[in-house]
């Protein structure tokens, strides 16, 4: 897996961001975390940092995760976005995939699932 990969975490909950960083750190070598607390910050940080992988919550102030995904994938066709949410109705999941998200992870993120996601999207192949 890529060393020092840049990971953008967009979630308005500092607790959720910490929990996600903790589980990612178990499986990655020195990841570089970039944090955003709302949808607007997600856009700004993405522009300046160009992360390798982005995790977005659905319910966020300013711009929700779905809207942020639509804007990001429109602007950056290579953006790798994973939606992380405590809950997802079928409509929300569909909206996330249609918006251009690659995957959906249930919160709190389980280690084995996170490992799969990281290998799939940041793997060497």
């Amino acid at each position: 897996m890529k060393k020092n990969a840049k990971i953008l975490i967009g979630d308005d909950s500092i607790l959720a961001r910490k929990q996600l960083k903790d589980v990612i750190s178990e499986y990655m070598e020195e990841p570089v975390f970039i944090e955003a607390a709302n949808g607007k910050e997600v856009m700004e940080k993405y522009d300046s940092e160009r992360p390798d992988l982005t995790f977005l919550d659905i319910v966020m102030p300013e711009r929700d995760g779905i809207l942020a995904t639509i804007e990001l994938t429109k602007k950056y066709s290579d953006a790798k976005i994973i939606i992380v949410s405590s809950v997802g109705t079928k409509n929300q999941l569909r909206a996330a995939i249609e918006a251009g998200a690659l995957d959906f992870v249930q919160k709190p993120a389980r280690g084995d699932l996170m490992k799969q996601i990281l290998e799939k999207y940041l793997g060497d192949n």
């Binding site: 909950s13 500092i14 607790l15 949410s85 809950v87």
Partner: protein, 295 residues
């Protein structure tokens, strides 16, 4: 959820004081249910017989069941069934109150029968909560408050009590709802729902309670009120409302849309005309559930 609502039933009948109840609740995790308590709740033995066998146990070195069968208070097959049966937690709460000397077995027997009858609890069904049954429990809980809730609101409240059990712990007792038009917050998180059930929903507590609430929710040890504690409160409410939305979309194909949860401290909040507050007593403090359905 039977233990939580049995507590409020006892309070509503003035059988216990809130202080006694709180103490009995705090001992729930370290007590075991005795055979006599279950036998009584199932109507196999009377309170008198249970008390007699307990007394005899101080004279003879025998198990409760052995003595009860010898005296023909229990049949063999009843004893076997009791030994195998699940232990409903509301019985444990009643037993704790007997141990504390607050209730006699006889008074508990009467109260148990009343509680089971009122909520149509089948004593033979064991201790597993059945969601439809807890819905009835919640409906009855609000029925006493002279206003009835819509079916959807009962579903919502049933879920929030179940989520408290699941994510914070079952050692609580809800008190009767109060209907209010204004509320002064301490440390509150409020979230707006639109769609299937338009309302403002919130939780409020003091800082000490918030620290413990957050520690339980995040399964981390917090010692002061900081941004992590605040985030834990927000996450709990957001998770609960999210689960509600998922349930709704699965059962009725309608969803609830959630706005981000908002934290407010020491502020007076105006509520809608049919808003209510449910105080929920935990050993670490009181959590107030705020519900303000949009008019």
């Amino acid at each position: 959820m039977y233990a939580q609502f049995f507590g409020s039933y006892l309070l509503s009948r003035n059988a216990v004081t809130p202080v006694e109840l709180k103490e009995a609740i705090s001992h729930l995790s370290d007590s075991h249910l005795r055979l006599g308590t279950i036998a009584m709740s199932k109507g196999y033995m009377t309170a008198k017989e249970v008390d007699e066998v307990c007394f005899l146990q101080t004279r003879e070195d025998k198990h409760f069941g052995e003595i009860a069968v010898e005296r023909n208070y229990l049949f063999d097959d009843q004893l076997n069934e009791l030994l195998k049966s699940q232990n409903p937690d509301y019985l444990l709460l009643g037993q704790n109150l007997v141990d504390m000397g607050v209730l006699t077995n006889e008074r508990l027997e009467t109260l148990l029968a009343g509680y089971q009858k009122e909520n149509q609890i089948d004593p033979a069904a064991g201790g597993d909560d059945i969601p439809e049954q807890t819905t009835e429990l919640v409906r009855n809980f609000f029925f006493t408050s002279d206003r009835t809730l819509s079916d959807l609101m009962v579903t919502y409240m049933n879920l929030i009590f179940n989520n408290l059990v699941r994510f914070i712990g079952g050692d609580f007792t809800p008190l009767s709802p109060a209907f209010v038009s204004e509320y002064d917050t301490n440390c509150a998180v409020i979230q707006r729902l639109t769609g299937v059930l338009p309302l403002h929903s919130g939780i409020d507590m003091d800082k000490e309670a918030a620290i413990e609430f957050a520690s339980r929710y995040a399964q981390m040890e917090f010692n002061e009120f900081d941004e992590y504690v605040q985030a834990s409160l927000e996450d709990f409410l957001n998770l609960h409302n999210g689960l509600f939305s998922v349930n709704m979309s699965n059962t009725s194909s309608k969803e609830a849309e959630l706005a981000p949860p908002e934290f407010t401290e020491n502020r007076s909040v105006e509520l809608s005309s049919n808003a209510f507050v449910v105080p929920v007593i935990y050993p670490f403090g009181t959590v107030y559930l705020l519900l303000s359905p949009d008019n």
